[in-house]
Amino acid sequence: MIVTEGLSKRYPGVTALDRLTVSIGPGVTGLVGANGAGKSTLIKLLLGLAPASEGTSRVLDKDSATEGAAIRAQVGYMPEHDCLPPDVPATEFVVHMARMSGLPRAAARERTADTLRHVGLYEERYRPMGGYSTGMKQRVKLAQALVHDPRLVLLDEPTNGLDPAGRDEMLALIRRVHADFGISVLTTSHLLGELERVSDHVVVIDGGRLLRSEPIGGFTSSTTSLAVEVTDSDAHPNGATALHDALVAAGVAVRREGGRLVMVDIPPGEAGERGYDTVRDTVTDLGLGLIRMEQRRRRIAEVFSTRTDGTPADPTHPATPAPAAPAPVAQEGAGRRAE
């Protein structure tokens, strides 16, 4: 779907993309990075809207630099910012955008009706968009990106500004865009947690550089670590130190965090299962009390703990149970009709 090679974009004084080489296949791909990481810039280069400073990118096997128009004919784009005129109803607006994509008038109307229904906009679609909630606006923005039935959509921060319920609905909708409509998705966010839930593949960039790119399975399995907190005992006045030393002796990858926490790397698969057992057994053998044992996605935490807006989902919350698959997506959420 998308291949970039050494793709760079330099603005005066800023390198927005720095020799990014990545390849993205069909399905839902999450592009994660803190604000200013270069996500929006990448999308603009892919669409051929801005020239790269260096390197190349191909979308749907076409060169962004020279075949931009052909790419844009088959790709949909949802910008991160507001883009809807307030005094126009959604239907009229989306019909217009469909015609701008080259659809004949009748087809534009039909596709608009279908698409707005699929994104969950009903009677409201005849009212001017100025009165819409953020959630409804985001749906219209998504609809205009889908209305010409593209092969791929690029969604820039589609959950931006939504409340938790709205986020869930938008994520469910994104999942459906691929699962039900058969359209591949590249969606960006500065929150990895939410993209993990809908993506088949996640690409993390930071400062315009590629940090990782791998299937979601790789993420949930290889990135976990276990935070363990234990009581002290008479035999071990510092329980954390005792546990740390004992685990090191047992050959487990382990480190300290703060005064009380022992962080244990949990490898994927069966080795991980044994890892849990080792920790539990070690704690028991030492005669310590287990205060808590939490799973964390360590690298994600590392990527984001230094940069995000103070809501790094992972480190402060007990993680989801075990190396679970991405949370099942509520399929009906998006199609639900407001009563």
Binding site: P85, D87, M100, F181
Partner: protein, 314 residues
């Protein structure tokens, strides 16, 4: 087609997709996604659709009732004198219209200017203000397509606005059984003048309007650009003429869109001008300069407009 699914709920339930929502059924039928394999008509179709939508917008058609008021009011004011002239011609059995076709737009320049000042920002400032531009440029449409479409749309709107009263005059003249040959020539000259006027003013006004996302500023700026040079040029013409320098008075007309237009019509479209006596441009010498400056200014503004949109929306 409207009621084929209401007819038989049983069969409706059986069909897989397309017809849905049997009456009284609270459940929402999931109408499966249908792709689109129909034609994709590409840039030229998109350009045409954009022109059409923009021209309609310039008259408030397809927009709220409120946004129809001003354009329609101005159009009425624009046509009213023509209606009166026709009525007078019919009643009093005149043997010519009280005014040449080419004079009409010049006479009603304030109304025209107001309309242009309203229509130009309407055409571009909303897309800038609400940041809709990226949605256009993320489609096959190129920046030049967008600019060309908007220019064509504004020129069309101005032309319609200018030529509608001419049509009224012409129809009235034929009704009053004035000399059909003379009237037709005059009418065609009037239309030709309207084309030149529309292209020149569309380019200027659109460029000015595109410099600000605020519609109010746009309106004010367009009014300023159309009127201030006009009054300056016409005042200078009078002063120079009073000083006895009729040639210079003629040349000064090059300095504003309104007098430029007037001069072109005077030289090539058989009309009079508002210029002081003796300073009208002639077809050979000064007239040519008027024509060249008109074409050049239109081209320059169009070029600057394309440039202005080169970085927009990225």
């Amino acid at each position: 087609m409207p009621n084929d699914h209401a007819a038989d709920p049983a069969t409706t339930g059986g069909t897989p997709a397309g017809t849905a929502t049997a009456r009284g059924d609270a459940r929402i039928h999931d109408i499966g996604y249908r792709g689109y394999d129909g034609p994709r008509l590409g840039r030229s179709h998109a350009r045409r659709a954009l022109v059409e939508q923009s021209v309609r917008g310039a008259f408030g058609i397809g927009r709220s009732a409120k946004s129809k008021i001003l354009p329609m009011l101005l159009l009425a004011i624009m046509v009213l004198p023509a209606v009166i002239m026709v009525a007078v011609a019919l009643v009093t059995n005149l043997d010519d219209l009280p005014l040449e076709y080419t004079r009409y737009a010049v006479m009603l320049q304030p109304v025209l200017g107001l309309y242009i000042a309203l229509a130009a920002p309407q055409m571009v400032s909303l897309d800038l203000r609400y940041r809709t531009i990226p949605l256009y440029f993320s489609r096959p449409l190129e920046r030049t397509d967008y600019v060309a479409s908007k220019l064509a749309a504004l020129a069309t709107a101005i032309f319609l606005f200018t030529s509608l009263p001419l049509v009224v005059l012409y129809a009235g003249a034929l009704l009053a059984e004035l000399d059909a040959g003379d009237q037709t020539v005059g009418f065609l000259q009037g239309l030709a003048g309207a084309v030149v006027f529309a292209l020149l003013h569309a380019a200027i006004a659109l460029l000015v309007a595109s410099l600000t996302p605020r519609r109010g500023f746009g309106v004010a700026a367009v009014i300023a650009v159309l009127t201030v040079p006009y009054f300056a040029a016409t005042s200078l013409q009078v002063i120079l003429h009073d000083l006895g320098n009729t040639a210079a008075a003629g040349w000064v007309g090059l300095l504003s869109p309104g007098t430029l237009m007037d001069g072109v019509q005077g030289a090539y479209l058989g009309g009079d001008t508002d210029f002081p006596p003796g300073s009208d441009p002639s077809a050979g010498g000064m007239g040519l300069a008027y024509l060249l400056v008109t074409v050049g200014l239109t081209a320059l503004c169009s070029f600057l407009l394309v440039r202005r949109y080169r970085k927009e929306g990225i």
